[in-house]
Assembly symmetry: C2
Homo-oligomer: 340 residues x 2
């Protein structure tokens, strides 16, 4: 028990060769029952666990996939992760997760580390969609699936939610309620979700002939604080918007905190709709209308795509899933009061 026992120790202990032990631990059959039992007993007594390192060196297969997310504190990702893990487990894959804190530098390190560890594939929401730093994976021929943010510099399977459609529907809903001064709290422009949700907003305005006003566009970084601050900016406008669209969950929370601090009355004074459902949505008064995404399904599909890629490495063309978000109308978008 001093140091970890190896296959040699087991073989000696059971009085067989290491080849036979290997057969047993890999369930390859062709071993006499009695011998097998002897070996199993030895394994148990010694507390033997085979070294993945040595095994991987021969097999070039780890049955492990790596998941990289930009912000583990954003509840969206754990929920996606849960979907991935569930499916992965079914197929006998292990999942390891790392978070980059939105840093491409950290991300590159993680990628390298994952490659070193020989992951069979990677599911990633990248901190930098440019994706140059992911070329390594491609060079090593390791399958990648991009989730929520696409990768520009080369082709990979992608699972996205239709951001444009989602935010279009959200803003359209606002417009149909009579709103014309609609503020948007944007995510970073250099991310697909940030950009596309803004595009959907803009398109809705255009389609309904509502003039686009730059003052109503405030930049955020998908974090709670920025949602808070953006809301303040909107509030201080001479022409306050009559409605706000927030581009993600965390910024929605920040926005709600700001509304309260500013005593800017949700619903009656300012309508609201947000991208992503949040826990607080149904506890506010009025309840928050949102565009909801199917997190679990995103994770499941992502794994499925990766699994297919791992199994039939060649010849599958790039695939792109575009899931439809769901507009959940609650009560935070109210009819605009028109002066008679």
């Amino acid at each position: 028990m001093e140091s970890k026992p190896n296959i040699q120790d087991v073989a000696r202990h059971a009085n067989v060769s290491i080849a036979t032990v290997s057969r047993v631990i890999n369930n390859q059959g062709g071993v006499r029952k009695a011998t097998e039992e002897k070996i199993l007993k030895a394994i148990d007594e010694l507390g033997y666990i085979r070294s993945a390192a040595a095994r991987i060196m021969k097999r070039k297969e780890t049955n492990t996939i790596g998941v990289i997310v930009p912000d583990i504190k954003n509840p969206f990702f754990p929920l996606v992760m849960a979907g991935i893990e569930e499916k992965a487990r079914e197929k006998g894959y292990f999942t390891i997760l790392s978070s980059t804190s939105e840093s491409p530098i950290v991300e590159e390190k993680i990628v390298k580390n994952f490659i070193e560890r020989g992951v069979d594939g990677v599911i990633i929401t990248t901190a930098n969609e440019n994706g140059e730093h992911l070329k390594l994976l491609q060079e090593q021929n390791i399958p990648i699936v991009a989730v929520d943010r696409s990768i520009k510099s080369f082709d990979v399977d992608t699972v996205l939610v239709d951001n444009v459609k989602g935010s279009y529907q959200a803003v359209q809903h606002l417009i149909l309620q009579g709103h014309k001064e609609i503020g948007i709290i944007c995510g970073p422009e250099n991310t697909t979700p940030g950009l596309e949700r803004f595009l959907g907003y803009k398109k809705a305005l255009e389609d309904y002939n509502i003039p686009f006003d730059e003052n109503y566009v405030v930049m955020g970084d998908f974090g709670e604080r920025s949602g808070y601050q953006a809301t303040k900016v909107l509030f201080e406008l001479d022409d306050k918007p009559t409605a706000i669209f927030s581009s993600n969950n965390l910024m929605t929370i920040g926005c709600m905190k700001a509304l309260e601090d500013l005593k800017w009355k949700l619903g009656s004074e300012v309508s609201f709709i947000g991208f992503d459902d949040v826990d607080i949505a149904t506890f506010l008064n009025p309840k928050l209308s949102v565009v909801a995404r199917p997190m679990n399904a995103i994770g499941e599909i992502a794994f499925q795509l990766l699994y297919e890629r791992i199994s039939f490495k060649e010849s599958i063309p790039k695939r792109e899933y575009l899931l439809a978000p769901e507009l959940k109308i609650r009560q935070s978008c109210q009819l605009v009061k028109t002066a008679f």
Copy 2:
């Protein structure tokens, strides 16, 4: 680019021996500048990444720690994880995370997988505090730190929050507001947090001479649904409690949903206090009073303990951190209306 290049390929490409290449990739010095550059160039051209598997086989050190949590969907764990990752990154460690979905069977598999991969240490919130299934780690001499739930069958470093104190303070607060009929939504009795939070509740009642009534104790499983159902049970009592204490974040959310569905008015009809702060706390009216835990600090301390154990393997006695939770008084505990 066919298959992954190895150190041999690099050596050939640069016209040196593999030993020299090894020196360069490990920054060991003692290599002429020109040679080094030649090698670096070869590495770059070939897209070489060293195999962790081969390296680990020699070094017996992976600079990786494994984190095992019971439920990645519970926001508590990602927050702790963030604290761990931050500190780990500082010390040059990688962190891999897996979630057991509260299944000891899955947990055992993950543990085994982590050992196979040669993690240097493990931080775990176990699905089964009995801990027999973790003996493997001990046998392999792999350091463990238990977080939030202790491990019974052998000694490990532990980071806990003072659950008894936290729930005692919470219930005490309720009592001081004049409440005598206090319902509790419990977590599983076979978990430290579940049991201890109940104990704190009971102790507070005793200290203030309030009779303990079994009807006011409802079991939950730390999940949202159970919080919802438990609240309904409490509501259907002939003698409804005038206050509720919920043992964790998810059950608090379930409880709030139930309150709303039952039209059981928070604050005026039923006071409330919960263990763990939640996003919704400050958005409800009245705002929820809670016992908050320092998630980030928990993660940081856990890593620190593990790091020390990894570095000085011998001779450190078992350490147990007991962090103090913080009572956050907001408005959901109101003075009980006494009949004059």
